[in-house]
């Protein structure tokens, strides 16, 4: 393959709604793009972590003499070597950087080793031994909530509860008596591993000015400074975090992984840079997981299919520490009724501590869990009432102006109904009966649907804001300072597209500066389906300011001209009345340095009513989706084959159709793994599926063709009408596949993943009991 000449890719100026090649595509396909661990040179040290290996214990001693004596070992650090505070945590500051008195999960970090090379590092880690007294562990939500169970965090006044929430709207107790049909179900969903291509990694050194520079695979560079600094006992201004392109994160790098350890290592590295790079096994052991959940549901409806009452009891396992577990569960509770109008609701949720691996964010936060349950409940209600599953969803789906389950009025774009309608006219929906009839010997076929909602941005108590910065360089290029991380979803490219469109430029005129706390402005995390919405809005403002500044400079160059007379073209502006063209480079030379740089600010709007409806407040803007799946179940093995998939999405207007489709397809593939094969097994606090040979993520052979259809409803507050698209696709596959499996088999598997063995078991039980659910 020939390397394209600069600018050959994209000659015409950027447009909105048209695919533009990703700025990172060529470098990634050819392996040239650098991840955090690739930013090294010269003489550097390796840092690595000794991990506990036991799920719950009192730590009484750390023996590091043998490790320290090993030639090539520079230092072995323990909690005694932490100059500042040995506790981190975004909401609850209770996780030690290096364990001091207690071990709360098998992956707990106990000692940090610096060595000349990887081999010595490994050897040294093996030589460290621990003294501890094993403590009885807590390994399930049920155990955690028992009064008599051991307390995992002694000082937590709520016992083992991280957070509990309750939502009551209407009068659900009374309302259930008014229902014609009430269905009930208990659903279980597993912990899920992110399994990103790039495991947790980073590179750190002390700059000449004394600043600690940490290049890390992180979604949260700005927030990280405020977590790292207290550990070192210094001011956050003394920390600089740089986040290059990430090789996937999906929430697993929303917060601290290697950052504090690297900073600590640099204090003892004798002036040399330090690199840390977890291998796959360490990533499994120490990285955060999607919270497993157990959910009790009751849904009541009238004879015509109208939902009247909902009761949910949600139990999320937060693991040993829960950096955002309470918030994850809360978002689940907020979405417990999915995209439906239900006037009488009782939702209670708990997130608890256990001695299982640490729970944390994962694409969808707490929403895939509840959607898995609710969307199966909807099918169960439809079946009980003899109503078509799409019809019952259309009947109850929220529309603009409706109140959702929290009683919050949906004042912004609300496309649930449009998604369902689009699905109803799709050939896959219309052709479903014919397809089902063509099953071969020992095969049964089923079709399932699911409808989802996903809130965009942070809850109202946390300002969801971004500050964009853009520059006309002296070379005449437009440089976008992206303060939000691109973890692989392509948002940085979309920023180039947005700014390029506003300023009439093509790809060759654009430059991107990726997040760097010393160069870009604080713009929040790359998470919560907010990255392009919030930063994109700020960037449009910054780009329009720069447009004005450039035109002002142009007016000064063309005597007698007015601002309206200028047209932006790639690399230049044209004064249309005279036809005179001015190169951007030329204009830049005449502009003040300060005039060549502009900024923009945006803060996401929040609800004005029911702010107290739930912890941290309810969300205002949601994306919606409707998914349809064809499955074929093998009666001899129980194996589920996903044959076709349709994902209809309301994420507002689409800026780049390719990047949009990648987000939907990626989320659906990840959702299929969640539905069918991914089972993060932990027994008594020890991980059973320790690597990718036993933790089964889908391969390209397991993922069928995915039709992704956007329903482009304008979101008036969004950048060019856009809403978040990163997470909405994640929640659909599990319930859609579960409903399809139920359609095929006449029985339901209430626990995910729906492995061949699980489905086969359900088929046998059905045969033996002769029952149909």
């Amino acid at each position: 393959m020939k390397e394209p000449e600069n600018g050959e890719i994209e000659r015409a100026g950027y447009d909105i709604g048209k695919t533009a090649h990703r700025a990172d595509a060529y470098a990634k396909v050819t392996g040239r793009e650098k991840y955090a661990a690739d930013y090294y040179d010269g003489e550097f040290l390796w840092a690595g972590v000794k991990r506990a290996g036991v799920p719950h214990a009192a730590l009484t001693g750390i023996h590091a003499e043998d490790a320290r004596a090993l030639p090539g070992v520079i230092a072995v650090l323990t909690h005694h070597d932490i100059p500042g505070e040995n506790r981190i945590g975004i909401i609850r500051k209770n996780q030690p950087v290096l364990a001091d008195t207690r071990i709360r999960h098998s992956g707990e970090a106990v000692a940090l080793v610096l060595a000349e090379n990887r081999e010595t590092l490994k050897d040294a880690l093996n030589r460290i031994t621990l003294d501890y007294e094993a403590l009885p562990g807590v390994f399930s939500v049920e155990e955690a909530l028992k009064e008599t169970s051991p307390r995992i965090h002694e000082d937590n006044p709520e016992g083992n509860v991280v957070k509990a929430v309750a939502v009551e709207t209407g009068d659900s107790a009374k309302a259930f008596n008014e229902c014609d049909a009430v269905v009930e179900g208990v659903f279980e969903v597993p912990a899920q591993e992110h399994a990103y291509l790039e495991t947790e990694s980073g590179w750190a050194y002390q700059g000449e000015d004394g600043t600690y520079v940490i290049v890390a695979s992180t979604q949260t560079p700005f927030r990280d400074c405020f977590e790292i600094a207290p550990v070192l006992g210094i001011d956050p201004a003394g920390i600089r975090v740089i986040a290059p392109y990430l090789g996937g994160a999906f929430g697993g790098k929303d917060g601290i992984t290697v950052q504090c350890l690297l900073a600590l290592a640099v204090l003892h590295s004798r002036g040399r840079p330090v690199k840390m790079w977890w291998d796959r096994e360490e990533s499994f052991l120490a990285g955060v997981k999607r919270l497993s959940a157990k959910m009790h549901y009751r849904l009541g409806a009238k004879n015509d299919g109208e939902f009247h009452a909902l009761e949910c009891r949600l139990y999320y396992d937060g693991g040993a520490y829960s950096p955002l577990g309470g918030e994850i569960m809360t978002l689940g509770a907020e979405h417990a009724g999915c995209a439906y109008r239900i006037p009488n609701v009782s939702i209670k949720g708990w997130c608890v501590y256990t001695n299982n691996p640490v729970g944390g964010p994962f694409r969808g936060f707490g929403v895939p869990q509840v959607t898995a349950a609710m969307e199966q409940m909807v099918d169960m209600a439809a079946q009980r009432l003899g109503i078509d599953p799409l019809a019952i969803r259309l009947k109850n789906a929220v529309r603009k102006g409706d109140r959702n389950c929290l009683g919050v009025t949906l004042t912004n774009s609300t496309g649930a109904v449009e998604c369902l309608e689009k699905m109803s006219s799709h050939p896959l929906w219309k052709g479903r009966a014919a397809w089902k009839e063509e099953a071969g010997p020992f095969k049964v076929r089923g079709v399932g649907v699911a409808c989802m909602a996903h809130a965009m941005g942070y809850p109202p108590m946390v300002a969801d804001e971004a500050r964009a910065k853009i520059e006309l360089t002296v070379e005449g290029k437009i440089r976008v300072y992206a303060g939000v991380v691109d973890m692989g979803q392509g948002n940085a490219s979309t920023y180039a597209q947005i700014a390029g469109y506003v300023l009439g430029q093509d790809a060759s005129a654009m430059e991107l500066v990726l997040p760097d706390t010393a160069r870009t402005l604080p713009s929040g995390s790359s998470s919560a389906s907010r990255t392009t919405y919030t930063y994109g809005n700020a960037l449009i403002e910054a780009a329009r300011s720069l447009e004005k500044a450039i035109i002002k400079a142009a007016c000064e160059r063309v005597p007698g001209s007015v601002a309206e007379g200028f047209l932006f073209l790639p690399g230049k502006v044209r004064h249309t009345p005279t036809g005179r063209e001015l190169l951007l480079e030329e204009l830049a030379a005449f502009m003040d340095d300060s005039a060549r740089v502009t900024t923009g600010y945006f803060k996401m709007p929040v609800v004005r009513e029911k702010l107290d409806a739930i912890y941290m407040g309810p969300h205002l803007i949601f994306s919606y989706g409707a998914h349809l799946v064809y499955v074929e179940v093998d009666e001899l093995t129980g194996q589920v084959d996903v044959a076709r998939y349709l994902a209809v999405t309301d994420a507002g207007r689409v800026i780049n159709p390719q990047v949009f489709a990648q987000q939907i397809e990626g989320a659906v593939a990840q959702g299929m793994g969640y539905a069918l094969t991914e089972d993060f097994k932990v027994r008594k606090g020890r991980i059973v599926t320790r690597d990718l040979s036993t933790y089964i993520i889908p391969t390209s052979m397991d993922i069928p063709a995915i039709d992704s259809v956007p329903v482009e409803i304008d979101e008036e507050t969004g950048p060019f009408g856009l809403k978040g698209a990163g997470e909405i696709g994640m929640s659909g596959p599990l319930p859609a596949i579960a409903n399809a499996v139920s359609d095929a088999c006449g029985t339901r598997v209430f626990r995910a993943p729906m492995t061949g063995e699980a489905v086969y078991g359900a088929l046998i039980r059905k045969k033996e009991e002769g029952t149909v659910l």
């Binding site: 020992f442 001899l636 093995t637 391969t699 390209s700 052979m701 063995e757």
Partner: protein, 285 residues
């Protein structure tokens, strides 16, 4: 530090073997390197067979085919003799690992790893394969079922090398069938597998049958009783279901992280039942 030697011929190999008694020998390395990484123990010397010219050939010799131990799965899959005469083997190879693993992995390596889940093993059992074992000063042939003794253990003695596999052409079977149940469609270790060769009369009566199951016992499992019970019956649902209890008695699966013993036992029987859907048409892989 590990030194890897790559002899170019068997003569060179024997010299190295003598010189480095503690060396581990590997073919494609797709099993060995995973194991070494997991144990974090690397031997000082490894001997790789990729360059040994005598181990690469695939030849047809008077009614039989010799497959050199270092023939990769990819080479076997693309070989016309294999596809023509041993579709059951080709089908199993297609289910093995992924393209990169098939490019590296070899038939000899799959046999010597002696995993009950080795994908090529059930086909080799039903095809009556013999393995050729060489010493510096001689060779012997052993039926595969006598060569594999247990999980990870074989009849290979000190100073012996598995040099290849002999397969008699089996054109008399009208049905060549292989099915693997894995946890996903590629890069999957067998939860259970079945290789079957069946010949029926014009009217569909079973004349002879051979079955071999993977992952349902310490080694590949065969069942003469099940095969005998099927002979004389019309190949169909009823006859196949009638031998399921015999199959279930023949296997001795275990629980592990991938599946329970009970599920594996059920699969062993059900995979035989699958043949009912296959009709009489010869199944070419």
């Amino acid at each position: 530090m590990t030194t890897v030697y790559r002899p170019g011929s068997l003569d060179e190999f024997w010299d190295m073997r003598e010189k480095y008694g503690e060396a581990l020998v590997f073919a494609g390395g797709t099993d060995l390197f995973v194991k070494l990484r997991a144990l974090n123990k690397y031997p000082p010397v490894l001997i790789g067979l990729a360059g040994v010219k005598e181990l690469q050939s695939i030849e047809e010799l008077s009614g039989a085919v010799f497959i050199g131990a270092h023939a990769t799965h990819t080479r076997l899959l693309s070989h016309p003799r294999i596809r023509e005469h041993f579709p059951v083997l080709a089908s199993a190879l297609r289910s093995l690992g992924s393209p990169p693993i098939r490019n590296m992995g070899t038939i000899g390596g799959n046999i010597c790893t002696a995993s009950p889940a080795g994908d090529v093993l059930p086909p080799l059992y039903v095809l009556g394969a013999q393995v050729e074992l060489r010493k510096k000063d001689g060779s012997r042939r052993v039926p595969i079922r006598e060569f594999i003794l247990g999980p990870g253990t074989t009849a290979l003695t000190d100073g012996e090398l598995l040099s290849g596999v002999w397969l008699k052409k089996e054109d008399s079977f009208t049905i060549h069938h292989f099915e693997k149940v894995g946890q996903r469609k590629a890069l999957a270790i067998a939860v259970a597998s079945l290789a079957a060769l069946v010949t029926t009369t014009e009217t569909g009566i079973v004349e002879k049958a051979r079955f071999a199951w993977g992952s349902v016992g310490p080694t590949v499992v065969t069942s003469q009783d099940a095969e005998d019970a099927l002979v004389g019956l019309p190949l169909g649902l009823k006859a196949l279901q009638s031998i399921v209890p015999i199959v279930e008695r023949s296997v001795s699966p275990i629980d592990d992280v991938r599946a329970s013993a009970a599920y594996r036992k059920a699969l062993a029987g059900n995979l035989v039942v699958r043949l009912a859907g296959r009709g009489r048409e010869p199944l070419r892989a």
